[in-house]
């Protein structure tokens, strides 16, 4: 059978793929070097980082259990393993700022200070949920507090974030907008278009790429030749950084500095936070394609453990302090489940009335 593609081209392509893969591996080793922090961070901050990271961990772990019991339906993309990023970023923002999120959005919501009750209620399709059960896991939003929502379309949150940042500028506000995006979304046109617009308009915009090195089952080395995603910012004049996404404190420090620069008119800023999922793409994906050694490496550098250790070592917290926080976070989730179970679903009449709006 006649081949229409040149074999040479295919070989070259495969070689490049193999090279990219090796490179992605090397980077993960380079990243292992711990970052030295100059000043001891305040205990309150360390406590907050730990509480948030742990709250996300509990939400996802318990949420998956509810899913397995058949109580949650539809898509569910766990944030397990990536907690350090949302935790660090959101702790560095303030009231009046904005965030836009991804399909893997529970962590961003929690770190933004969302009410766990209303999040659980949304997953359990209750009327008390953030979107009254209309949205579900992939669409939790809390517009009133500046959370512009999770998004089922990869890359869609980036222009939204630019719009929020532009609106802030138009209104003369110094609010900062963070869009959380993903390695997969960097190969979508919205990434370049958004970052470029943010740059020409000097927006208070921080684009955080959560590089978990996979898009579903595709390793990053197969979808880009330059796996250092932060390097893309330089090409269009945007200050860019790489940070260990599994280190909540490092993420916090970088975001805090970035937000300060933005408010001083030096935005936008691109941050690549490198991390790894603890499981497959979604609850029903066993993730067999994820290399075991790499997974083990990242699990050893678990962001929740890092936050806990920081709280203990740098914040001089006792075992009792830690356990008080853990029990209170766990109770908050259990209460949220109770609350949701006691909530009603949107009634058909109400649904029809809402439906009649437009």
């Amino acid at each position: 059978m006649k081949k229409i593609f040149s074999t040479n081209f295919c070989l070259a392509f495969k070689k490049q793929m193999a090279k990219n893969r090796a490179k992605a591996g090397d980077l993960w080793i380079i990243m292992a070097k711990p970052r030295a922090s100059e000043n001891t961070p305040p205990r309150e901050l360390l406590e907050k980082l730990f509480r948030t990271a742990y709250a996300i961990r509990v939400f996802e772990t318990e949420g998956i259990k509810l899913y397995r019991q058949g109580l949650i339906r539809g898509y569910f993309h766990p944030y397990l393993g990536q907690e350090g990023i949302a935790t660090g970023v959101c702790a560095a923002l303030r009231k009046g700022d904005f965030i836009a999120s991804t399909h893997r959005g529970h962590g961003h919501c929690i770190a933004w200070g969302a009410d766990i009750k209303r999040m659980v209620a949304e997953l359990l399709q209750k009327e008390t949920g953030y979107c009254r059960g209309y949205g579900g896991s992939m669409h939790i939003a809390d517009i009133t507090t500046g959370n512009l929502g999770a998004n089922g379309i990869v890359g869609a949150g980036t222009p939204l974030g630019v719009g929020a940042a532009l609106a802030a500028q138009v209104r003369g506000s110094d609010a900062v907008t963070v869009t959380f995006t993903t390695d997969g979304a960097t190969n979508n046109g919205t990434f370049l278009e958004s970052l470029n617009l943010a740059a020409i308009w000097n927006l208070n915009f921080i684009l955080v790429i959560e590089n978990n090195q996979y898009a579903v089952s595709t390793p990053i080395g197969e979808s880009t030749r330059e796996t250092d995603l932060f390097k893309r910012g330089a090409a269009i004049g945007v200050e860019s950084h790489l940070v260990d996404g599994n280190d909540p404190l490092a993420v916090y420090n970088l975001t805090e500095e970035s937000a300060r620069k933005c408010r001083a008119g030096q935005g936008p800023i691109l941050i690549e936070a490198r991390t790894f999922r603890h499981m497959g793409h979604h609850v029903n994906d066993p993730g067999k394609y994820m290399p075991e050694d790499k997974l083990a490496y990242y699990k050893q550098r678990d962001p929740v453990d890092r936050a806990r250790n920081n709280f203990v070592d740098l914040g001089h917290a006792s075992a009792a302090d830690v356990s008080t926080i853990e029990r209170s976070v766990e109770k908050e989730f259990a209460d949220a489940v109770e609350f949701s179970k006691g909530s009603r679903e949107v009634s058909v009449d109400e649904f029809r009335a809402f439906a009649a709006v437009y």
């Binding site: 059978m1 006649k2 081949k3 229409i4 593609f5 081209f9 295919c10 392509f13 495969k14 339906r73 539809g74 898509y75 399709q125 979107c131 059960g133 209309y134 949205g135 579900g136 896991s137 992939m138 669409h139 998004n151 089922g152 379309i153 990869v154 890359g155 997969g184 979304a185 190969n187 979508n188 046109g189 898009a215 579903v216 089952s217 595709t218 197969e222 979808s223 880009t224 394609y289 679903e345 949107v346 058909v348 649904f351 029809r352 439906a355």
Partner: protein, 325 residues
């Protein structure tokens, strides 16, 4: 006959055509790993990475590159993974693919198949459940295919791949994993624009397509038990569509009900109703009506989703009304 799912049927058809024609190849996200539903399982081993090409999440370029590759003589199958993501590739589809042949005065015919699994499936919510096939029937320059069973999935896929003009192929997500049967051996192409008669009856004509078809057939059985006998046509392709078959049936029954899962307002059902009345005249058509979803985004909540679903009960009720009025 062989036992297959619709996914298997589609896979066998693409495989057969890729064996037959070296110009045929596939591009899309995760396709080399077998595709989201396994619709390309085993292709990497059989055809090599040069003919089953996984891409980054770059829908506009996947679509546009498919067109470019078609213009230079290859025949790509462009996999959109889930229909809703085609929104990210609209310029390439609407302004480019659909226009080329006519706009260039017939110099080129882009032989692409755009595969877009569509519809509600397991509470996927507003951005992963849409059925907007009527948009594309409204778009000159493309062929629109929407099968509902394994044999049609396979036979229409063969025709789609052999077509010299762009084919938009809507795989019915909700039926994709359902057990079905299809003829063994070489898959024969099914011509576009030929409806399939699923049931004979003289009381009313039901025209339908895609994921709702099994529900229509459930309804037909319930209707028959109540003495109402429907003539049921699965259009299978929406452009071209089998106007002659529909007209012949309505001539006989004088009553038409079009059933689709998509939103009723502005749906393709409206066009069918209009054509039938236009061609047969109001004197010969007693009822011409559509049944579709309310004009709403799909809610996540399963009970709310069920509210907007076209169900067997709704079909029975609408058909009874149409038959008895």
């Amino acid at each position: 006959m062989i036992d297959v799912t619709l996914v298997d049927a589609g896979r066998l058809a693409v495989q057969q055509e890729m064996r037959r024609d070296p110009r045929v190849w596939v591009l899309g996200e995760d396709v080399a790993r077998g595709g989201l539903w396994g619709q390309y399982r085993g292709f990497l081993e059989e055809f090599g990475a040069e003919r089953i090409v996984s891409t980054p999440i770059s829908e506009s370029t996947i679509m546009g590159a498919g067109l470019g590759a078609a213009l230079v003589g290859t025949r790509p199958i462009i996999e959109m993974r889930i229909f809703d993501f085609v929104m990210c590739a609209m310029d390439e589809l609407v302004n480019q693919i659909a226009k080329i042949r006519y706009m260039f005065g017939g110099q080129a015919r882009p032989a692409v198949v755009v595969r877009m699994p569509h519809g509600m499936w397991r509470n996927s919510a507003a951005q992963h459940s849409q059925m907007l096939e009527s948009w594309f029937v409204h778009l000159p320059g493309v062929i629109v295919v929407a099968p509902s069973c394994a044999a049609d999935e396979a036979g229409l896929m063969v025709s789609a791949i052999r077509s010299d003009d762009p084919v938009l192929f809507f795989d019915p997500k909700d039926l994709w994993l359902a057990a079905d049967r299809m003829p063994a051996g070489e898959i024969q192409p099914i011509p576009f624009g030929k409806a399939r008669r699923l049931h004979e009856g003289g009381d009313l004509t039901i025209v339908t397509w895609s994921a709702i078809v099994p529900k229509v057939m459930e309804a037909v059985t319930l209707l028959a038990a109540q003495g109402v006998h429907a003539d049921v046509l699965d259009l299978r392709t929406l452009w071209p569509w089998d106007e002659a078959a529909v007209l012949a049936s309505v001539k006989k029954t004088k009553r038409l009900l079009v059933v689709h899962e998509a939103v009723e307002v502005g749906g393709f059902g409206g066009e069918i109703v209009a054509r039938v009345i236009d061609q047969l005249g109001t004197a010969h058509v007693k009822v011409a009506r559509r049944l579709g979803a309310p004009r709403l985004p799909i809610p996540f909540s399963p009970p709310l989703e069920n509210q907007i679903r076209v169900t067997t009960e709704k079909i029975v009720a609408a058909a009874m009304k149409a038959a008895r009025e």
